[in-house]
Structures are given as structure tokens and as C-alpha cells.
């Protein structure tokens, strides 16, 4: 296994999918000769021809709507939205068609398509280039939403997404594009709808995904100094949600913190808190807390560090999990 970056792992997944299945087509803005602004499609046009990987006019609703038609016509489009906020023009197509076509036609038409969206911040991008837009998609029934936290998962999840008979919103954490690890191409990882425990621990569960998986792991290391043994769960699939893996962990530890970059209010973390609390209420020593982005438009580069959950903020939150309290008597 050679060590490759997440961007390279995604590139490998796309290449292998194009190789294995004639129906797979890659298109979008600048994905052709340029290879995408993050080089995720680097060299694919050169190696497989414009037939398989091509540039389109600059219109996101157009790209997604055109992909819907192509998927209806038997292809498996993998389209790229150049940045998170630039997927918004496609919101109607995604919400009213991509998510619903199978349902509307009672299974007569399916839409095996993948919408790749580089998301979240941490790379010093200017406004509109750093949104964490997962909550918009996870609240839309009919979509699968996945996000890798590691290069290996980038490969595995993208292959699985392309093979999925359901449309998938594939969220790529920009700030991890350049993170590296050895990646195997054998596709024997966890199924695409399962969370994984990335690190075992017995005192508290950190629930993270995408860009925050690495931050959670770092926090777990730092927490040792405080005497906390931290378990880290990487959700991978935001929708559907893997209750089993997550609640098993929280039941073991009795404490949990959900971490994400998106604004907290109405964010994805709220769902995690709500369902974990409902299922683990009697095992919880403290409320499930969240460490999230602030409830503000994503800040300019020079201020973005205040927006992003970091080790300190997560540790401060872990510290609030009522470690010294007596067992809580409800109603007291």
C-alpha cells in the first residue's frame, strides 16, 4: 500500500470506477483538462478521453439537471460542484428531483448519481468557499450523504457511492485533501452506511465526521494528559445514520460530544444529540454536548480560526461533562 493523499485517493476511486463500469461519466466545471481546482479529476480526461470526463457550461442547476436526465437514460453520472456554496443553484434539482425521482415513480426510475461537493473551511478561502452545507442535504429524504475523514475512506466511500443505486451527496473535506495515509484498493472496509470507531476509549465518545475526524483524534491524544480516555466515532454516513455503532459507543462511555464545523444552530449535530439522547438517556452522565461552528456566516480567512472547532474548544467541552457530579437524580 502506497501512501497517498485524500485527493489522490478520490482520483483513484474515479479512475477505477470509470475503468470498471462503462456507464460512469464524470462531468462538471473544470473537471476535464484542468483536473478540477483541487485536482481530484487530474489526468482522467487525458487517460480515458473526453468521452468519460468532460467540462460543461458553468451552471450548477444545469449540471445536476442534465445528470438527472443522463441517469434516467442509463448512465451513472459523477458530477462535481466546485465549492459548497456553488451547489446552492442546484438546490431545487437536488431537493425536488434527485432526492425524489425513485419515490415519485414508485421505483420505475432510479438515479444512480453522485454529486461531489468539496465542503467546509480551514484552507483560508474567501467567502462562499467554506460552507458546511451537510445539514441541507441530510434533512432531505431520498438522498444518501457520506463524507470521508481519511484517504482510505475517500477511496472506499466514493467507490461505494458510485455503485449505489441511490443518489449520493459526497462531501469532501477540503482541508483534508492533502492529508496522507497508505490506501488499499481492495474495498474491504466498512459498508458505506456504517460508522466506525476510529479510536477506542472508555470515558467519553467524540462523534465526528469529515474534516473533524482528524481533529477529534488529536483531541483524544491531548485528552490523555487530562486523564480522559476518549473514544472517537467517525460517522462516514451522515444519512442514513448508523444508530447501532454510535449508541453502542455512548452506552459504553456514558458521555458524548458531537463535533462539526457547520454552524451549530439547526446543524447536523443536533440530530445526533437528539437521537443519541433518546436512545441512551439512562446511560448518560451528562447531556450530549456539541462543539460546532459559530452561528455566523463563515468568517474571512484571517478570522476563520475562531470558527473552527479545535482541540482546546473540544477539551473545554469535554470538561463540562459533569465528571465530578454525583450520579444525577432526574428531576432534582
Amino acid at each position: 500500500m502506497t501512501e497517498i493523499s485524500m485527493a489522490q485517493a478520490l482520483n483513484a476511486a474515479l479512475r477505477d470506477a470509470v475503468k470498471d463500469d462503462d456507464r460512469v461519466l464524470i462531468f462538471g466545471e473544470d473537471v476535464g483538462p484542468l483536473g478540477g481546482v483541487f485536482r481530484v479529476t487530474d489526468g482522467i480526461t487525458a487517460d480515458f478521453g473526453e468521452e468519460r470526463c468532460f467540462d460543461t457550461p458553468l451552471a450548477e442547476s444545469g449540471i445536476v439537471g442534465f445528470a438527472v436526465g443522463m441517469a434516467m437514460g442509463g448512465f451513472r453520472p459523477v458530477v462535481e460542484m466546485q465549492f459548497d456554496a456553488f451547489a446552492y443553484p442546484a438546490f431545487e434539482q437536488i431537493t425536488s428531483h434527485v432526492a425524489k425521482l425513485r419515490n415519485r415513480t414508485r421505483g420505475a426510475l432510479s438515479l444512480p448519481m453522485v454529486i461531489r461537493i468539496p465542503y467546509a473551511g480551514g484552507i483560508g478561502g474567501v467567502e462562499h468557499h467554506c460552507d458546511s452545507s451537510e445539514a441541507y442535504y441530510t434533512h432531505t429524504p431520498g438522498l444518501r450523504v457520506v463524507t470521508p475523514g481519511t484517504p482510505q475512506d475517500a477511496y472506499d466511500l466514493l467507490r461505494d457511492s458510485i455503485d449505489s443505486p441511490d443518489p449520493v451527496i459526497f462531501l469532501e473535506p477540503k482541508c483534508r485533501y492533502w492529508s496522507k495515509e497508505p490506501v488499499s484498493f481492495t474495498r474491504d472496509g466498512a459498508p458505506m452506511d456504517r460508522a466506525v470507531v476510529r479510536r477506542e476509549g472508555k470515558d467519553v465518545t467524540l462523534i465526528a465526521y469529515g474534516p473533524m475526524v482528524a481533529t477529534a483524534l488529536e483531541t483524544a491524544e491531548a485528552a490523555k494528559a487530562e486523564g480522559w480516555d476518549v473514544e472517537v466515532v467517525d460517522l462516514r454516513s451522515l444519512s442514513p445514520f448508523d444508530d447501532e455503532t454510535v449508541t453502542a459507543s455512548v452506552r459504553r462511555t456514558g458521555r458524548a460530544v458531537v463535533v462539526h464545523e457547520a454552524a451549530g444552530f439547526g446543524g447536523y449535530g443536533a440530530e445526533v444529540v437528539a437521537r443519541v439522547t433518546e436512545q441512551c438517556f439512562h446511560q448518560l452522565h451528562a447531556p450530549v454536548l456539541r462543539v460546532t461552528g459559530l452561528d455566523i456566516p463563515y468568517p474571512p480567512p484571517k478570522l476563520e480560526r475562531h470558527q473552527l472547532p479545535d482541540v482546546d474548544r473540544i477539551l473545554d467541552t469535554v470538561a463540562r461533562l459533569q465528571w465530578n457530579d454525583e450520579p444525577v437524580v432526574a428531576g432534582a
Binding site: 460543461t56 444545469g62 442534465f66 434516467m72 425536488s96 425524489k100 415513480t105 420505475a108 426510475l109 447501532e244
Partner: protein, 365 residues
């Protein structure tokens, strides 16, 4: 700057193409277009009679509460029937909520056409086998699907085109613009057919667009365009045949605008007197497409009184069938709610299905 087609070749004719005057006599403002063979015109007439009767029946069914709502095609029969006739079985049709008559002409089951508006399911027919996309409500969105599907067929070398219906109002949506552009850039075999019926619900065309005509939009995308008198079935069929042939031959997309009129209100639930004069409606009634074609065909001895009688009888029988179908009570299965959200229901949905099943059991005892 050097483009394949000079701009002038893309522009529509200055006045809408017409074969028939309003009184059914020949008008011959048809440029070089050819008159379709008479058997096609008779078939068009038959289907227009059928469609009009179907339409009246559907509206009647709303009054009896058998349909939740119905957007009538009355006055637009020439456009709708010609849309179906211009296509082969292999071609894909992308209708809106207003295009029930086109689906009747295409041969779909009336009960299945009305499933959506009856409230049983989102789409009554099987799009994969009928090659008719679900009746589309989010305006203009289907034009992109049509462009994409046309491109898919083109890639596979299928001898088929996609045909997208759209209203005048919906042309204002961004998706229409993006669809024209994608279709042109990919040279996809797709025809965009605008039924400009003068209104988007209550909004008259004058407030919708300041263009000389919507057909003038094509040139801005490099798309060949045409405008046609939408109440002249001969002209509509001729222009659409030509457009479909152009697309089928791999010469790229075509935009056709038909000038027609929505005789009824937007739907049975709408009150058109709030925003338009009855005089205008009467003026357009005089341009009725069914009568116009009838006069022309009888005048040329292509249609006998006997034929007309037969077609009307057929339409009556058809309408009776629609009535019977719609009067039969169908109760959609609540469990179906969970079946097609994903290819395989998620654990989450399985749990919700169990909940609803338990509720139903509790109620049913």
C-alpha cells in the same frame, strides 16, 4: 467568433408559421414548411376530439370531488396532440401538469394520467416503459432532464429524441436557460416546445417577457428556433415534424414557440375573471383549433360527417371509461410510502414503517 451557423439561420420566421386562417381556409404563411400527409391530419383531428372530451370529463370529475385539481388543456389541443404525433415510441416526452391531452394522444391509460391529480400517487404510469417522464410541477426543471436524456440517447447512438413541453411562464426560470445552453453545447437531440398560452396562472405574457416572441431566445444559444400559430394543427404538426427531424438527424436542438390560448382558468380552482376579460376569451374561442382543423379537412373532403360522428362517439366511450375508472375507489397502500425512498429501505425507515403499521393495526382492531 466564427460559429457554425450564422445568426440569421437560427432566427424564427417573423410571423408565426400558419397554414390555416382562423376560419379554416388556407392561409399559407408557412415559409417552406410542408403540409403533413392527410392521414396524419385526420389522426390529429381524431385525437383532438378525443382530447377535448377527455379534458371536459376531467374538469367535470373535479366538481364531483373525484379529482383534487385539474389544469385544463382546452384550446391547446393542436399543440398537445401534435406533440404526441411528432414522436415515435422510442422518443421521450417530458410533459408538465398541463399536458394530459398530450399523454392521452400518446396512448397512456387515462386512469394513470390522472393518478397524480387524483391524489393516489406522484406518477401513475411507468416512465421507463412509456418513455414519458412524470408530469412535472417544478417549472422548467424537466427541460434539463430532457436535455440530459437526449444526450444519453445520443451517446448510445439510439435513434430517438427527447421532447420537452414547457409553458410561457416557465421560460422565465433559470433552468430553461441552462437547458437550452446545455442542449446546444452538447448538440443534444431535444426539442423544446413552448406552449405560449398567454398566461402563467394570472400573469399575462406582457408581464412575463418583453421579447418580440419567446422563439427569439434560441439565437442566443445557437439553437434553431421557430414560432407557429398554436391553434393551427396543420402548422404545429408541420413545424414539430420538422423540428423533431432536425434533432433526430443530429443537427442539434430546436426551440419552437406556439402562440395559443388557455381557454379555461389555470385550474378548476382558479377564477380567471379576476384577471382577464371574457371578451379576450371569446376572441380566442373564434380561433378554436378543433373547429379550424375540422373546417379545413371537411372542406378538402378528407373528413366526412360520418367520421366526425364516429370520432365523437369514440370520445364519448373514452370519457365514460375515464368516469368509470375514476369512480372506482382505490386506496393506496400506506406501506408503499416506505418502499421507494431508497432502493432498499434503511433501518430508520423500517422502524417508521413498523410504527405506521402498528397504528393501522390499532385502528383496524
Amino acid at each position: 467568433m466564427s460559429r457554425e451557423t450564422p445568426a440569421a439561420a437560427l432566427l424564427p420566421s417573423e410571423v408565426p408559421v400558419r397554414f390555416l386562417a382562423e376560419d379554416g381556409t388556407r392561409a399559407d404563411e408557412h415559409g417552406g414548411y410542408a403540409e403533413p400527409p392527410s392521414d396524419r391530419l385526420v389522426e390529429a383531428y381524431r385525437l383532438m376530439v378525443l382530447g377535448r372530451r377527455f379534458d371536459a370529463q376531467a374538469t367535470a370529475l373535479t366538481k364531483q370531488g373525484r379529482l383534487a385539481v385539474y389544469p385544463s388543456s382546452a384550446g391547446q389541443e393542436a399543440c398537445q396532440v401534435a406533440s404526441a404525433l411528432a414522436l415515435t415510441e422510442a422518443d421521450w416526452l417530458f410533459p408538465t401538469y398541463r399536458d394530459s391531452v398530450a399523454l392521452v394522444a400518446r396512448g397512456l391509460e387515462p386512469g394513470e394520467i390522472l393518478t397524480l391529480l387524483r391524489g393516489d400517487a406522484h406518477c401513475g404510469y411507468d416512465p421507463a416503459t412509456t418513455r414519458v417522464a412524470p408530469q412535472c410541477t417544478p417549472l422548467a426543471t424537466q427541460t434539463l432532464h430532457a436535455a440530459g436524456l437526449a444526450h444519453a440517447m445520443q451517446r448510445r447512438g439510439e435513434d430517438a429524441v427527447a421532447f420537452a413541453l414547457i409553458g410561457d411562464g416557465a421560460t422565465s426560470e433559470g433552468d430553461f436557460h441552462e437547458a437550452l445552453n446545455f442542449a446546444a453545447v452538447f448538440k443534444a437531440p431535444v426539442v423544446f416546445f413552448v406552449q405560449n398560452n398567454g398566461f402563467a396562472i394570472s400573469v399575462p405574457f406582457e408581464k412575463q417577457s418583453a421579447a418580440p416572441a419567446l422563439a427569439y431566445k434560441g439565437v442566443g444559444y445557437g439553437v434553431r428556433s421557430e414560432q407557429v400559430d398554436g391553434n393551427d394543427a396543420v402548422a404545429v404538426l408541420s413545424v414539430l415534424d420538422d423540428a423533431v427531424a432536425h434533432a433526430r438527424a443530429g443537427r442539434g436542438p430546436v426551440l419552437v414557440e406556439a402562440h395559443t390560448y388557455r381557454i379555461d382558468a389555470h385550474t378548476n380552482a382558479d377564477d380567471a375573471t379576476r384577471y382577464r376579460d371574457q371578451a379576450e376569451v371569446e376572441k380566442w374561442r373564434a380561433a378554436d383549433p378543433v373547429r379550424r382543423l375540422e373546417t379545413y379537412l371537411t372542406g378538402r373532403n378528407l373528413l366526412s360527417d360520418n367520421d366526425i360522428e364516429r370520432f365523437r362517439a369514440e370520445a364519448e366511450t373514452f370519457a365514460a371509461g375515464v368516469r368509470d375508472t375514476l369512480n372506482a375507489d382505490v386506496e393506496p397502500d400506506p406501506m408503499s410510502l416506505f418502499e421507494h425512498v431508497y432502493a432498499v429501505p434503511t433501518r430508520q425507515l423500517a422502524a417508521q414503517r413498523a410504527l405506521v403499521a402498528a397504528e393501522l393495526e390499532a385502528v383496524e382492531g
